[in-house]
């Protein structure tokens, strides 16, 4: 148990650093760059019942200190994730992985989670009720406490693994949604997913992204993440996984002070593929600078 270790829903993490879903594929590509076993864990690409190509391109737009994506949950479907992606991952990652799941109906979520529950490699189920890039689903579950609770309860019925519900920031009252998930049995809450954003190309006068709008992420959104993690962590008793614009060891400490037990790193992986490894390496010195002996002691420690 080192200075960086934390416990996430009963499972130990060597450190709280978790590459976020959709920015780390199924892991093995980053394993060509560095030993991904240095990570706490990572959250794999959002997986659905059926295979999906996702949205038309362009899917990416640049912003000041951030980016918009509208990938739309491209993934090979849960059967292939289990038969092809997990075996590939096993060769380069000997820790439990966080399985990220999306759906378009409550039964979809349950179906996918039930399949993944059988996989010994999966440590946690991160259930995304907040994808802004798919119609008729995703985010609509995360903007309503009853719908979020319904998904939570359905998933809890089919798995014994810890269930972490990933929430959208595009809501009036994220606290009420987090509480509804907790009441429905969630073992943890992760937040924030992306903000809804849009850019227009002045030359063509068209939206930069084919799908018009998309999910805005990157360091620009960090202050929104701090505020929402703080509010949710003060309202629920289950662990909170913080994310949103994290790109440095300092950001990790700030989100943990706000109440995060672990921290996901998203868009930064796309700009600097080594950022998670670097944050883990930087943490001890940054902790020393701010008089922090053990990371787990600062969770929610803001005065």
């Amino acid at each position: 148990m080192g200075r960086l270790s934390v416990d996430l829903c009963g499972l130990p993490l060597d450190n709280p650093i978790i590459p976020a879903s959709g920015t780390f594929g199924y892991g093995y590509e980053f394993a060509e760059l560095y030993d991904i076993n240095v990570l706490g864990t990572f959250s794999f690409k959002g997986t659905t019942k059926d295979p999906r190509f996702g949205n038309p391109t362009p899917r990416i737009a640049e912003c000041n200190a951030g980016m918009i994506n509208a990938v739309g949950l491209q993934n090979p479907g849960v059967e292939k994730v289990i038969s092809e992606e997990l075996p590939k991952l096993k060769k380069c990652f000997n820790k439990k992985v966080m399985a990220n799941v999306s759906g378009f109906a409550v039964e979809d979520y349950a179906y996918t989670c039930e399949k993944l529950d059988k996989e010994e490699q999966v440590g946690w189920l991160e259930v995304n009720v907040s994808c802004p890039n798919v119609h008729g689903g995703g985010m609509s579950f995360g903007t309503n406490p009853e719908a979020a609770a319904e998904v939570t309860a359905a998933v809890k019925k089919v798995t014994t693994k810890p269930v972490i519900i990933k929430l959208s920031p595009n809501v009036t009252d994220i606290v009420s949604i987090a509480k509804a998930c907790e009441a429905a049995g969630a073992d943890g809450i992760s937040l924030i997913n992306t903000l809804l954003g849009m850019r227009i190309d002045l030359k063509t006068k068209k939206p930069v992204i084919a799908n018009k709008m998309g999910g805005f992420s990157g360091s620009a959104i960090f202050p929104v993440a701090v505020s929402m993690v703080y509010r949710v962590a003060n309202a629920v008793s289950i662990p909170v996984v913080g994310m949103g614009g994290v790109s440095s060891a300092e950001d990790v400490i700030e989100l943990m002070l706000a109440g995060a037990t672990a921290v996901e790193v998203g868009a930064a992986n796309l700009i600097d593929p080594y950022v998670c490894r670097d944050i883990i390496n930087d943490l001890p010195a940054v902790m020393d600078k701010y008089g922090i002996s053990n990371l787990k002691d600062i969770i929610g420690g803001v005065k």
């Binding site: 959709g22 920015t23 780390f24 594929g25 590509e29 980053f30 060509e32 760059l33 690409k45 190509f53 996702g54 038309p56 391109t57 362009p58 899917r59 990416i60 737009a61 640049e62 912003c63 000041n64 200190a65 951030g66 980016m67 994506n69 990938v71 491209q74 930069v208 990157g218 360091s219 868009a267 992986n269 796309l270 700009i271 600097d272 593929p273 080594y274």
Partner: protein, 245 residues
């Protein structure tokens, strides 16, 4: 893929909007013509993908067109500036299938990656024909460079101000080729898809997030399945292309 730091050796203007930048650094991960690099630019969030024009003896040559904020900033960069670059991205062109008389067809800013390809094909002992397409005489670049390699070069200009009047497809009938390689704007690629007689390889462009296969930002559908332009591409074989509309 490798992340390393390059220093700008020079950065010169070729036409009104096209620049050539030479950088010194570790090019060991650049293994095929048609690959690209992804450059971090101060003040901009996303890296900028630029195709490799040449790579040899720790010198990387890029030819880029100023089309937005990133390339505007690149054009203003001074000699000695250090850049954070991801190298060795993308699959690149496969020269093994070219036959004896490969044809290279480039349009506008699609011309640069064909330079390193021509060099490699010629080194492999092949007879290389090149067709370059530009809008007008003032926009032409690289013609002499291809000739210096020993390639046969035909230039087409849309307004007829130089060489063959018309598009690259108008210059196609005069050439005898065993295989072709192309890079350029999508309408040109589509026209070549129809007008060419042999098999060939096409290099595609798409807005990218990461440039190394992580984010699925630049996916496309092909006959052989979904592909990421940045990782499984940017080069696709003629037989696997599914045009978007």
């Amino acid at each position: 893929m490798k992340q390393s730091f390059f220093r700008i050796i020079n950065n010169t203007q070729l036409t009104e909007t096209v620049y050539k930048m030479k950088l010194s650094g570790d090019v060991s991960d650049i293994t095929s013509p048609g690959q690209f690099v992804n450059i971090k630019i101060d003040g901009l969030y996303l890296r900028r993908p630029i195709s490799v024009c040449d790579s040899e003896n720790d010198v990387l040559t890029l030819i880029y067109k100023v089309v937005g904020k990133g390339t505007e900033k690149m054009a203003e960069m001074e000699i000695g500036t250090e850049l954070d670059v991801l190298t060795g991205l993308g699959n690149g062109y496969n020269t093994a299938v070219s036959g004896e008389k490969p044809l290279l067809i480039g349009g506008g800013v699609g011309v640069p990656p064909l330079y390193m390809l021509a060099k490699k094909l010629i080194a492999e002992g092949k007879k290389v024909n090149v067709i370059l397409g530009f809008n007008t005489k003032a926009e032409i670049f690289c013609e002499e460079d291809f000739k210096a390699l020993g390639a046969e070069v035909v230039v087409a200009t849309a307004d007829g101000s130089y060489g063959v009047k018309g598009f690259v497809t108008d210059a196609l009938s005069d050439v005898d080729y065993t295989y072709f390689y192309t890079c350029g704007p999508e309408p040109m690629l589509k026209a070549l898809y129809k007008a060419t007689a042999t098999s060939g390889q096409f290099s595609f462009e798409e807005r990218m997030g990461c440039g190394f296969g992580a984010c699925m930002g630049c996916s496309c559908k092909t006959i052989t399945g979904y592909k990421r332009i940045c990782k499984d591409g940017p080069v696709l074989e003629k037989e696997e292309i599914l045009w978007a509309d």
